[in-house]
Symmetry: C2
Subunit: 93 residues, 2 copies
DNA sequence: ACAATAAATATGCTATAGCATATTTTTATG
DNA sequence: CATAAAAATATGCTATAGCATATTTATTGT
């Protein structure tokens, strides 16, 4: 499944929006959001950018060479809820 | 004009590819590349991702909050041809 | 288990992306 | 300039995105 579509679906869920709500804001029927999220359709660029922006995301073209660095940067965000590591001693005290 | 489309066109020129060559690799007629670059058509997501990859680019979804940081990072690359600043003394000697 | 709500599917229709081919216009080069 | 090459436009056709509406299939809550 397409990475971008997957990310858009996650973002929608993260924001606790229903397909019908997102569709409403976009002027698309819920059925269409469903098809897009299912990968049952190959949406137009404008549809994807509009959807992204409603979810506080932006579509960007990145040189492949710097992809890992940028993805790490993006992962960095949000995950500061649960630390990724912890000192051996004194943990949880 | 759409930023992504603009970036794709720049990348094609940077790589010194003709519309017909890019189209050839993609299995699209030159006329279609022209329409896309002119903004005369709203291409499908798959068309844009395919085109990007042939140009060593990847389409990525970025949280709007970190857009400036990431764009700075991207600008950083490649521009090491002409330095952005220079010491007052001893310049060009 | 039932009712209510959300999500996924289905269908028929319209608009348009994309294909193939041909022509015109623009840009380089001698 | 003239000529060649590249890019932009044009046209007719096919495939499919997207719209509207309706139905079916999960999910969730009581």
């Amino acid at each position: 499944m397409n990475e971008i579509i997957k990310a858009l679906k996650s973002a929608r869920l993260e924001k606790k929006l229903k397909q019908s709500e997102l569709g409403g804001k976009l002027g698309l029927p819920q059925s269409h959001i469903s098809k897009i999220e299912q990968g049952a359709t190959d949406p137009r660029l404008s549809t994807v950018t509009d959807m992204a922006r409603l979810l506080d995301l932006e579509l960007v073209l990145v040189p492949r060479a710097m992809l890992p660095a940028i993805q790490a940067m993006i992962r960095g965000e949000r995950e500061e809820q649960t630390p990724r590591w912890q000192l051996d001693e004194e943990a949880d005290r």
